[in-house]
Amino acid sequence: MRSDRRQSAPTGLKVAAACGLLFLHLPILLIFVYAFTTEEKSYQWPPPGLTTQWFAVTWNRPDVWEALSLSVEVACISTVIALVLGTLCAAAVSRTKFFGRETVSLLVILPIALPGIITGIALRSAFSLAEIPFSFWTIVLGHATFCVVVVYNNAVARFRRTSGSMIEASMDLGADGFQTFRYVVLPNIATALLAGGMLAFALSFDEVIVTTFTAGQQQTLPIWMLEELIRPRQRPVTNVVAMVVVLVTLLPILLAYYLTRDGDQIAGSGK
């Protein structure tokens, strides 16, 4: 900003912006209320009574635990793969100019730029052509592919801010390439990688569209929820799971934000 003075906003604008933010947040807050309702059969508002019994019921449901653990496993492995591939790609793209550099960044962004259903049906037709049976690894394959981009975005932004002269200085002072990576590059990009990893985890943990095409009989937590949305069995359990999912995804996002907030580009702006 150059020479602009600070003025207060017109009232109409303030009201419209506030309404917009309320529109974004009220529906999510509503989930928290419904997790405590005593009503079992319908979505009645206001809740006829409040109870915490559904937390205990949910805790004792093995299907919820199985779905949760599958989701966490898939998200962890996809995140690790995405961290390795995304960092390598970001390092290559930001350190050097080479022929086809734009194509590489387009290739990384494509899985998330095209609608998820295309990634899903593409993987599915590839599996069907290659006669690969659905398994844990087919889910990971899909997830890692679109998680690369969030790690890549975070790492590229950080590499851009990290001056190349530090690497040269390290080399001049006698460090070899590996030492430079370990003691100069890595500490500089560590928080960006951590933030990217958390976002990748959150993305994978929540993904449903691609997963419906790449999972066989296995249920990740989002697939479990989708089943419950289409054919509700026990609505209060769904309410509790929904609330827990909101809380579980909230933490990595907040952490990713705090890890990168000093930078000029903050993590998560490109989902």
Partner: protein, 322 residues
């Protein structure tokens, strides 16, 4: 850092003597041949994305040129345009037109709702408020997609909070009048196109706000002042200075809302009518119908539409705003 002539190499050797050991040798050869290092860094991600992703896209394209044998239900692996002929049946064209219309409406509504938030956050919010606005957009963006849809199922249900709230305001007749309209109406909001539309706008809104805000932040404040110094009214300043400069950001946001609406199949399935969207058609064809070729052909439609959309967006400079 390329070494071109032989004396330079000798000088380099004198300055940087070889380090010992395998690790040292490896490190030295990376330093002497940056291209090798670059290749080694690029190879794993390119192999992964090339094989898994581009390979799958090619498989998808290939499938769309196969056809299904109507009697046996097996995929016939011979190249043919029959599946595309099936795609252009009137009932399928309806699905495509319906989806594109919905995507356009959702995009326009998102622009209208997102603009005040982006404008306030970019031009007025400072310090703590700025962070608050940022998190206020980021948290809904990253909140679970299914939970957001579920929340709207709760809100739009007949016994839900919206009906209760409107009943308190004595405005229920308004909803009933709206629901009695053709096309947008239905039995209740949760089984009408209006419901689908609201949920789409809600779920994709953050994708519109962020690029819009980024573009508005890049509009220099002194241009706005110059405009008003030169006698433009606030409305004129907005139309002739702020809006044209923010347009690339708006187009960038619209890429997301448009593309995401084109490909979604879960929202119309959970909140909406029984009339299909492209995504649902893809899902139904590959699942219950077992017609992967037609599903693939359907999936090519959003790719083609987005191809044209991105080409237009590039002309408007939207990629610099991403």
């Amino acid at each position: 850092m390329t070494i071109t002539s032989a004396p330079a190499v000798d000088a380099r050797k004198a300055i940087l003597p070889s380090s010992g050991g395998v690790r040292g040798a490896l490190s030295d050869s990376f330093w002497r041949k940056p291209k090798l290092l670059l290749l080694l860094m690029l190879l794993p991600p390119l192999l992964w994305l090339g094989i898994v992703y581009i390979g799958s896209l090619i498989a998808l394209l290939a499938q769309s040129f196969f056809s299904i044998d109507e009697f046996s239900g097996l995929v016939n692996h011979e190249l043919t345009l029959k599946t595309y002929r099936d795609l252009f049946q009137p009932s399928n064209l309806d699905i495509i037109v319906r989806t594109v219309t919905m995507a356009a409406c959702v995009t326009l509504a998102s622009i209208a709702v997102a603009f005040p938030i982006a404008y306030y956050a970019a031009r007025y919010a400072r310090g703590r408020w700025k962070a608050l606005f940022y998190l206020g957009v980021m948290l809904p963006l990253w909140s679970s997609y299914l939970v957001k849809i579920y929340a709207w199922k709760l809100i739009l249900a007949k016994e839900g909070i919206l009906t209760w709230f409107l009943a308190k305001l004595h405005l229920l007749w308004l909803v009933d009048a709206w629901l009695s309209l053709p096309v947008v109406g239905g039995n209740s909001l949760s089984v009408s196109f209006t419901g689908t539309f609201i949920v789409f706008v809600y779920v994709w809104l953050p994708f519109m706000i962020l690029p819009m805000q980024a573009a508005l932040e890049r509009v220099p404040g002194n241009l706005v002042e110059a405009s008003s110094d030169l006698g433009a009214s606030p409305g004129q300043t907005f139309r002739t200075v702020i809006f044209p400069l923010a347009l690339p950001g708006i187009v960038a946001g619209s890429i997301f809302t448009f593309s995401l609406t084109l490909g979604d199949y879960i929202i119309p399935q959970i909140v909406g009518t029984s009339r299909l969207f492209i995504g649902q058609a893809v899902y139904a064809q590959q699942g219950t119908a077992g017609n992967i070729p037609l599903a693939a052909a359907f999936a090519v439609v959003p790719i083609v539409i987005m191809g044209f959309y991105l080409w237009g967006a590039k002309k408007l400079g939207a990629f610099d705003a991403l």
